[in-house]
Symmetry: C2
Subunit: 263 residues, 2 copies
Amino acid sequence: TCHIIGYGHRAETLKRALEIGAIDIAYADPQAAVQEAELVILCTPVGLLGSIIEEIAPALPPGALVTDVGSTKQSVVHAGDTKLPAGVFIGSHPMAGSEKRGVEYARADLFQNALCILTPTPATDPVALSKVTAFWKMLGMRTTHLSPLDHDRLIADISHLPHALAAALVMVQSDPALALAGNGFLDTTRIAGGDGNLWKDILHDNRQQVRQSLSRLLLELQSLDRLLDDSQASALVEYLNAAAARRDTLVQRKLRENASGLL
Amino acid sequence: TCHIIGYGHRAETLKRALEIGAIDIAYADPQAAVQEAELVILCTPVGLLGSIIEEIAPALPPGALVTDVGSTKQSVVHAGDTKLPAGVFIGSHPMAGSEKRGVEYARADLFQNALCILTPTPATDPVALSKVTAFWKMLGMRTTHLSPLDHDRLIADISHLPHALAAALVMVQSDPALALAGNGFLDTTRIAGGDGNLWKDILHDNRQQVRQSLSRLLLELQSLDRLLDDSQASALVEYLNAAAARRDTLVQRKLRENASGLL
């Protein structure tokens, strides 16, 4: 039989997790929690992953695998590869969740049809990789493999940059402008409602890639500014139509993925 | 009794509007449509409002008022004030709707609790203003008054800039990055799914204000880039928390507005 063992630093969180059945057994000590583990899933903020890996390393039983759910992968994979025995760590980034945080937002269908990116390196044990891949598939996820660097580059573009941008878009507004905000503005900035500490960790950890994404966006916005010139009306409509079409392709793909998940 | 008279340049649209009860009578000619009107509501794309005002001007009966639903106000108010008799035109911007377009998306509760901005000038007739204000309130809207310039400035910040930004955020993505897009990205870019021609009209008409908003955003993004420096982690967390708190204040206000609308 399979037991889900939980460790967390707040007793209250462990108590609620037990109550709602998210975990079967609770430990107040990370080393005790992993001592009989087959698969350890680290879910701390990105900035704490390195130290928790160090903490559990001496207590891991032979054959145990360790993965994580962090939104950046270079630093944690480096920590896993250097602080754990070879072949033990596999980086994972299950792309699911919301701006809500806490065990009370646990949902059985959270991972259904969502994408999990696994980030093997040349040192990764193929058997371990296929075991962790199978684990995420068992939860209903689609999976893909990328190098830690490719992950951090692409996720900086598609996830970290939009987050930073949503925060800036809120901060640039005057109070009289905010008083006129409609639902469109709330949608556009929804991801800026997330936990500031959690996102500081992510953006700071991946700052090199995020700054590159940001600098490409600044160039893009400068060309958009030129399209707002008096003489560029027809180029502007082409630009807006191209953006709408690209987004629509995405929406259609999401609909197909969700439909195939229902079969 | 009150009749809703519809004019549109496509016969098919008028036919569907009659079928679903959105209008009582359809006209294929704008001058015929307005000849017995008490209140004319212009709902064309922003770029066509000037010419439709010119077209209906000779046919308007005495005492009729004209308003519009455009997302920019300086140009249409100027057209209304110069091409119609004094006191006839009142600019309106009912902030409701979605990226969907067409009579098939008509909804009886579309305007409920949403905000309508009316844009009087020193030349506006106060009685006409209060009549048009009462009309939007009758549809369930909250109303506020701003000068056409203040409207265009503030709406450039809170609506037109986010739209331009959402388009740029889609366009800056590579295909491999788009393949990793989650629901957060779809939310953030939802408004970029709108009709390109409609939005070209809006952004082009309000380009002077939009470029000012964009240049302030570029400065904001440059300071955000500095917060991504190695040494600025604590300033970054403050920034992200401030953005989350400002947005949360907005969300709470929206919830209160919706709750009070239910009384």
